[in-house]
Structures are given as structure tokens and as C-alpha cells.
Amino acid sequence: MKGPLSRSGAATAFGLFAIAVYVFLYLPVITMVVLSFNNSIGIGLPWGGFTTRWYRESLENALARNAFLSSVQLAVVVSLVSSSLGLGVALAFRRAFRGKALMLNALILPLLMPGIVLAVGQITLWNLLGLLPGLWGTALLGHLVYTVPFAFLNIFPRVHRFDPNIEAAAADLGAGPWTVFATILLPRILPGLLASALFCFTLSFDEFTRTLFLIGAENTLPIYFWSIILTDPSPAASAIATLSVLFSLGIVALGLLALSGRRRGRAALAGAQG
């Protein structure tokens, strides 16, 4: 006997519900992508026919290109520096010491603070210290303050889970501290490091609030996007946004490919040998 709500009925309801969630999540992006091909002057309807001129214009626009390059460079540096710092702190947290739990929480707490508060705090501090706003000074620091806790959260679990006996075994077999790190620990935590690098890259690449306060007269892509939305809202803005989303997705896809490629490679190796 079936219950009052038949099993297949419930499944259908949940299915529809899930589809609604997906639509809700993706409709804004799809709208933007579609409108980036709209041959009209403003963002939005009416539909004036299909065109790729906004893409051509954006790609030829030196300001947009520079903003994009600044964003990529900044994101690369932020990604490398914050992953290195995150790794260093994660290694420091392997030891037991007094107040360890408190220190751990203190490291994660900034994630819960509003970005705008941190941005204002920073610009005030840098100002007091005589540091002028700019891409490679205040903006870089501001991004690092934002991303280092995320880097740590990606790396620490892997470092923490690693059995120190395995490193002791390597030392016992004649490996000095650096060799132990390079041949034993690093290969095992590499997925965490990659995930951290990827995550910090996209966090920095998309960051807006902090950058707005900290960048001064320079541009990143989100800042440039914001400025043209304010001053000259044409479908070119949609084209730039679409390109930016594509780029972010490409980076994530590359990262995932690297991670799964490593895993597949190992599995294939084990299969071929075993």
C-alpha cells in the first residue's frame, strides 16, 4: 500500500523544486550573457538584434584590457602569497602549544567580519602609516587579509591529518628536514595547496568592496566594471562581465582538471602495476 503522498509524487515535487533552485541561481547570469549580444544602446530590453560588437569593442578597449591584466596579476600574486602564508601557519599549528584553540579561532574570525568594515579599518591604518592607496600596496595587502584565512582553511586539514610517524620514518631512512618536506609531506598536501591557490585566485579576481576602498586611482576588472555601469551602462558592460565569468570558470576548470588528472594518473599507475 502506498501512503497518502505517493513516493513518486514526492520525488516529482522534489525534482521540480530542485529545478526551480537552479533556475533561480543561473537566470541572472544567463540574462547577462544574452543581453551582451543585444544590439541596442542600453542594458536591458528591447531586443535590437544579435551582435558581437560589444565583445569586439571591449577587447579593443585599452582601459578594459589593463583592468583585466591588473586583476589577473594581482590574483596570481595574492594566490601564491596567501597559499605560502597559509601553509606556513598550518605547519606551525601542527605543534601543541598553549592557547592553540584560541589562536585557531582568532585566525578564522576575520571571515565573519563585514568586508567593508575591514576595508575602512585598513585604509585608515595605511593612511596613518603614510602608505598611499594603490594596486601593489594597499590593494594587495587588503586582498591578503581577506584570503589568508581561506588559504589556511584549505591547507590545514591535510597537514593536520598527516601522520607525523610517516615523516619520522623518512628521517629515520636518512632524509634531512627539507627532503622530508619535499618528498613526503608536500606530495600529500599538494591537492590542498592547489585548492587554496585556486580559491584565493578567484576570491581576489572577483573582489570588489575592499578593492574599491584600497586601490586609489588604479583599476581592477570589478572596479572598472562598476565604473562603466555608473557612467556608461551599455551592453559592453555585459560583454565584459561575461568574459570575466568565462575566465573564472576556465581557471576553476583548469584546477579541477589538474587535481583529477593527478588522481587518475595515480590510479592508472596502480592499476597498470597491480
Binding site: 619520522a168 620514518a169 631512512l173 636518512g174 632524509a175 627532503t179 595515480r266 596502480a270 597491480g274
Partner: protein, 374 residues
Amino acid sequence: MKLLRRPDLELIGIDKGFRGKQVLRRVSLEVQPGEFIAVLGPSGSGKSTLLKIAAGFEQPDSGTVRLQGEDVTAVPPYRRNINTVFQNYALFPHMSVFDNVAYGLRRKKVKPAEVTQRVGEALALVGLASFGPRQPETLSGGEQQRIALARALVNRPAVLLLDEPLSALDLKIRRRMQGELKRIHEEVGTTFLFVTHDQEEAVVLADRITVMRDGGLEQVGTAREIYDRPATPFVADFVGEMNWLRGQAEGGVARLADGNALHLPEGIAPPAGALRVGVRPERLRIAAVGATSGARENALAATITRITFQGPSTVVEARTETGEAIRCLCGPADVAGALLPGSAILCLWDAEATLVFDAAGAENGLTRKGELVE
């Protein structure tokens, strides 16, 4: 003339404390070349710390570690010619079995052709010649254990340390690995020092046993010496089973609690005052009430409380007239016929099987196995 040999490993006056707790006190131990020596003790006795100090993972607060005559106290583990088999094997999870075993040789920049050859020999030695391409996660516990052994032995260390090497294996595989370890030790002739809390394992494997307790050495000797002539009540209780009886000595004459004279081994004089008298369960012989004991035999009247058939042997538990619980391990010939719970019996044992300690030994917090069984 006795040939003076240089010990492979010398631990001299080792002291070690952690956070104000003394873990090792004045521990000295010499391990001779080719010896298979066991460090036996309950958890917390300091045996693992002693092993870590020998390997170089811990520094002693004071004392000296010598490896083949050379002072290595301040030498880090990666520069000591000593290798360890870890309790949980600690194989490198991201490397094949071959790369695991080759790891030490590659650190020493051994030529690839020689690496291949020596790894092959080491794998053959532990009976896993074809396992080179396998990944550690595909191996059983016993196989991982052997790979860990091959990975250490391939480096031809002066001394091989084994930290509870078999404790993670189930009983049947453990028995087989005991035999394997002994065979491998005989084949390579390397000095083995292994740490265990399992007295049976120590007795089966080791040429000599070091019994540790509370950070100090209780006794060093062959399995036979330790079993037959334990130096302290702790050793007597920790290695094998022991029946403990109360006694008293006055003017060189020892008596049991029932007042009967106690015959001691030749040349042993009892300490004056209260005594702890020990007899191994298998040294007790059950006789009918009224049986006469031999001239050098001790006798104790008791009542059977329980009989447990165990296959090759039978355990007879009894209570003496003075209230002490005793266990007697009997062969099939000893318990023929009319033994039943409630039967009055006479327990006999040879003077040579009697161990006697002063009462101070009794107060050192022993686990009195004989009385736990009641």
C-alpha cells in the same frame, strides 16, 4: 679467554623527563652484535622513549648513546646508521612498494642499478619479491609489516629498532610473523632491538630480555633467567603467572602462613621478617591429603574451588587453609580421577621452584593475578 666484543649499541645512564615527569631514570643497556634483544614493559614504563632516544627522535636529558663505539647522542636520526620499524608501519602512502624500500638508498645516492638489485633482495628476504609495483594501501597488515621491515633492512643498519612491531596484527598472523622475524634475524645477522608489552612475544623472540618498569630497568637476562629467577616480584608477575603466598622468616628459618617450614633453593637465605613467596602454577603438583612430600619438597593444604579444562592442560584453582587463592596448571596425568570442587588436596612443589622476596616487594603495587581469578 673471553673475547671482548664491542657492543653495537650502548645506552649509558640515560635520563629523560617530560614536563616534570621522570620517564627514564639512569637506564643503561648494552646490545651485542647480532643479538635479538627485547625491551619488555607495561605501557608507561618508558620503553618507547628509550627506543626513540636510540633512534635519535628524542634527546636524553643526560646520558650517552653509542653506536658501534661512536658517540651519537647529538646526531640527528637521518645521520644515524640505525633504522626503525614503526608500530603502524608508517609506509609512504604516495609511493609504490619499490619506491618505499628504495627511499633510504636513494637518500644515500646509491646508483640506480644497485638500488634495483638491493630492493629486489630485500623484498625477496621478506617473501614479497613480486610486490614492487603495488601501492601500500592495497596490502594487508602483515604485508605492510614486511615491507616496513624490508625498507629498514635494505639500508644494512648497524642496529634495527622495532617498535611493538606485531601488536597491530591479529593473533594468527602475529604468530607467523614471529617466526618470520626470527628467520630474517638469523638470515641477516643484524642486531635487533624490539620493544613490546607482550611478554609471550619477548620470550619467543629474544635472546635477552630487558624488563622495564616506571622508567628503570628491573632485570636484564635470558628468557629462562627472567622466568625462573625473576629479580623482583614485579618481573615475576609481569612475565608469566605467579602464585603468591605469605611467609615469615626468623633466625634463617622460613615458614609459610600455616606454620610449616618452607624449603628454599640451595644457597638462598630468606630475608628476615615478612616474606612474599612465589611459585609458578605449573610447578605445583596436586596430591591426595596425607601424601608424604619429598625431603626437599614444600607442601600446602588446600581446597579446590574450581576446575577448568583447557585442552592440553587443566587449571585447578584452590584456596589454602590460610585463605590464599592459588592456581595450579596440571597435565592430563595429574588430574586423573576424583578431583572435584570441594575436594581437599595437598599442593606440593620443589624447593628449587620457590621464589622468595621480602615484604617490601609486596607493596610495590603488584597485579596479583592469582587473586584476581577468584
